[in-house]
């Protein structure tokens, strides 16, 4: 068999196979495939959908996927990067409390921050994140040295007070016995919020703060404090230099406001807030002195000095003029207490009590309390209760009226305060201020009628608020002790 023959046989074989393929797949197929046609038409209509619609769906799906990836990644990262701590010369007991086992007990955090415990300190690390943590000082003194870091977020809680820290060194003392908070700054800054500083007080290096229900809020050394602006970093806040002025905002000073009220209240509304020449605000009015300026120009301050100081005050306060169009609640959130009071004076309280909204009236009451004008605060609170009876603000007003009466004997004194606290607790049993109202009622009852009368209240307090701000005082009164 030669090559040509072999090739011919191969070609014949290939031809056979080609014919086999042609005959096997030769029938007229698919004409009747209605299903195929229906699928094709569906696909055809889908393919004619606007590109933008398809693109939108795709982008949405991709965005969802990206978000899922980011959330998952962040979650994994956060779990992997949480701060940790160890205790030197101490141990961690139940509830996370650090028990000293020797001198110099210190909590060392993984990012370098330290908290040293005094001998009697009861402290626990409540929670930790990647950027900071929450440390609770139950009692005693701690010395915190927080490493400044971007996005650092530390809080130290002492009783009802919260100290927001970014990067600083300071000392904190808290005592439940006399409900006294002491903060001593070494460097950096913190913002303290609590019952006596509801809008927050910024403390900077060298400043000291003492807060106590009996003596009020006292701040000294370093720079004068100012109301904290929510959301604004503490370090970036502008400061009003006062050359070491010491402001004392004590409960006894409120007597001046009582005198205002006794004199008709409106006198206080019309009065212009005097300001020391060095910028320290003298809130004294009538017979009361709410802040003392120790600057060299305190004496001999004339009218011109007042006006000059007013300008400086205006520059140190949030620009009230620029906030004139905002609601008072927003201005209050920005610390524009004096601006609100000035507006109220200009408009007249009688008109305000009739026309102001519930939120504005409540904000005015708060501003008056922060500005130590209790007469104005009381009238605003009464206005809220009369015009907006039954509302949350009206119920809260009962508590504030109780605290005002408690602080100012001329406004009802402890007996009047007890009535208001009772009213608040009756109207808002589970309200925001219930722990404070019941605690104050307990303390007032003890003061007025003795420990025996206060014991049932202490027992009730412990059963309802075992971790409340007056729990320590209630335990002392409880029959177990």
């Amino acid at each position: 068999m030669n090559v040509s023959t072999t090739q011919r046989e191969g070609e014949r074989l290939l031809e056979d196979v080609v014919q086999l393929v042609q005959s096997t797949y030769s029938e007229t197929l698919a004409v009747g495939d209605e299903r195929g046609l229906a699928r094709l038409e569906q696909a055809w209509h889908r393919s004619r959908r606007p590109w933008s619609e398809l693109a939108g769906l795709r982008v949405f799906a991709m965005a969802l996927g990206a978000i899922a990836l980011i959330v998952g990644g962040v979650s994994v990262y956060r779990r992997a990067d949480l701060l940790t701590y160890r205790v030197v010369n101490g141990s961690v007991g139940s509830g996370g409390f650090v028990h000293p086992t020797g001198v110099g007990t210190t909590i060392l955090f993984s990012e370098g921050s330290e908290i040293s415990l005094g001998g009697e300190a009861r402290t626990r690390v409540d929670s930790l994140t990647t950027d900071g943590g929450r440390v609770v000082v139950e009692s005693g003194t701690v010395h915190a040295r927080i490493v400044p870091r971007k996005h650092a977020h530390w809080t130290v809680e002492a009783g009802p007070y919260t100290i927001r820290v970014t990067g600083t060194a300071f000392k904190v003392h808290w005592s439940w016995t006399d409900e006294r908070l002491e903060v001593s700054m070494q460097r950096g800054s913190v913002v303290v919020t609590g019952p006596l500083a509801p809008s927050g007080v910024t403390l900077t290096a060298g400043m000291e703060m003492t807060a106590n229900p009996g003596t009020g809020l006292a701040i000294g050394g370093g720079d004068t404090p100012r109301a904290a602006v929510p959301g604004e970093p503490a370090e970036s806040e502008p400061r009003t230099r006062s050359g070491g002025a010491r402001s004392e905002l004590s409960g006894s000073d409120v007597a001046g406001a009582a005198a205002d009220e006794a004199a008709g209240g409106e006198r206080g509304l019309a009065a212009e807030a005097p300001v020391a020449d060095d910028g320290a605000l003298d809130l004294g009015r009538g017979t009361g002195t709410r802040a003392r300026a120790t600057g060299r120009q305190r004496s001999g301050m004339g009218q011109a000095g007042h006006r000059g100081a007013e300008r400086r005050l205006a520059s140190s306060q949030p620009a009230s003029g620029s906030r004139a169009g905002e609601g008072w609640d927003k201005r209050l959130a920005h610390g524009d207490v004096q601006g609100i009071l000035a507006d109220a004076d200009a408009r007249g309280l009688d008109e305000l009590l009739q026309t102001a909204s519930e939120r504005d009236l409540s904000a005015l009451a708060d501003a008056a309390r922060y500005g130590h004008r209790p007469a104005l605060a009381r009238r605003a609170l009464f206005g809220v209760r009369e015009r907006f009876a039954g509302s949350q603000e009206a119920r809260n007003a009962a508590f504030f009226l109780g605290s005002l009466a408690d602080d100012a004997p001329g406004a009802g004194g402890p007996t009047g305060a007890l009535e208001w606290y009772d009213r608040y607790l009756a109207e808002s049993r589970g309200g925001r201020y219930a722990p404070q109202a019941l605690g104050r009622k307990m303390a007032l009852t003890q003061r007025l009628h003795g420990a025996d009368a206060a014991r049932p209240l202490a027992a009730e307090y412990l059963s309802r608020f075992p971790d409340g701000p007056y729990a320590a005082a209630a335990r002392k009164l409880s029959p177990v002790n």
Binding site: T6, Q7, E9, G10, E11, R12, L13, L14, E15, D16, V17, V18, Q19, L20, V21, Q22, S23, T24, Y25, S26, E27, T28, L29, A30, V31, G32, D33, E34, G36, L37, R39, L40, E41, A43, W44, S47
Partner: protein, 240 residues
């Protein structure tokens, strides 16, 4: 006794005047987006496309999805058709592209071990009732699997579908001379592979008994035609 009738495949496809219109009219209707046009195009070309795909991929292959792809591609690209009369060539070209794309995809899948072969051969189902013929088909498509995508598409278009060299060249987007050269080489190579295949060699003596296979006379004529096709390609190559 009820008479058994083979399954009818005639289905009414409403396409209006497009059902009997020429390719140019149908192409213009597709370009204009007339609603009946897709049905008319489906009715006219789907048998050819289906047959080409079946002949390319062989036994056991479901080509319905590929037919859909061809028509969807046609509907998307028909707007760029310069010469409406060339609608059929356009469809063939798209089919050839689909064939090449699918073959390459299958080759990639085989490389990553997702399938056994390019043709993903299975036992033929009802396409060929004769066992010997089925065996021969499997062997033949195993040989075709050894060709690359372009060569296989060219082989199918030229020798299975009987297209002219110019049509093959247009469908594969290559020059006529290149198409000839490739076809000559492919023919020789496939012939050699078929000769060496014992399954196909044993099939040859019984080819006359395979149902649907043409009679010997027709076979001779077909052989002559195929040989002339191959010779035409060889002579062209020699002249070059």
């Amino acid at each position: 006794m009820r008479e058994t009738v083979p399954a009818a495949r005639i289905v009414y496809l409403p396409g209006g005047h497009l059902a009997s219109a020429d390719d140019a009219t149908l192409a213009r209707a597709l370009i204009a987006g007339d609603d009946p046009a897709p049905r008319a195009a489906w009715a006219r070309f789907s048998p050819m496309v289906h047959r080409m795909l079946k002949r390319t991929f062989g036994p056991g292959q479901d080509v319905d999805d590929m037919v859909q792809d061809v028509f969807l591609c046609l509907f998307r690209k028909v707007g760029g058709l310069r010469e409406p009369k060339a609608l059929k060539a356009f469809v063939i070209s798209i089919t050839a592209m689909t064939i090449k794309y699918e073959l390459r995809q299958r080759r990639v899948r085989r490389w990553v071990h997702l399938s056994g072969s390019v043709s993903e051969l299975e036992a033929p189902r009802t396409e060929q009732p004769d066992a010997g013929a089925r065996k021969a088909l499997v062997s033949f498509y195993a040989i075709l699997d050894r060709l690359n995508a372009r060569d296989r598409a060219a082989f199918v278009l030229r020798f299975f579908e009987g297209l002219e060299l110019t049509e093959v060249a247009a469908a594969l987007d290559i020059s006529v001379s290149t198409a000839k050269r490739h076809l000559t080489r492919i023919w020789k190579r496939v012939t050699l592979l078929v000769e060496r295949s014992p399954e196909l060699a044993s099939y040859l003596p019984s080819a006359a008994n395979v149902p649907n296979v043409s009679k010997q006379d027709d076979s001779d004529k077909a052989l002559q035609k195929l040989q002339s096709m191959a010779a035409e390609s060889s002579e062209t190559e020699k002249r070059r």
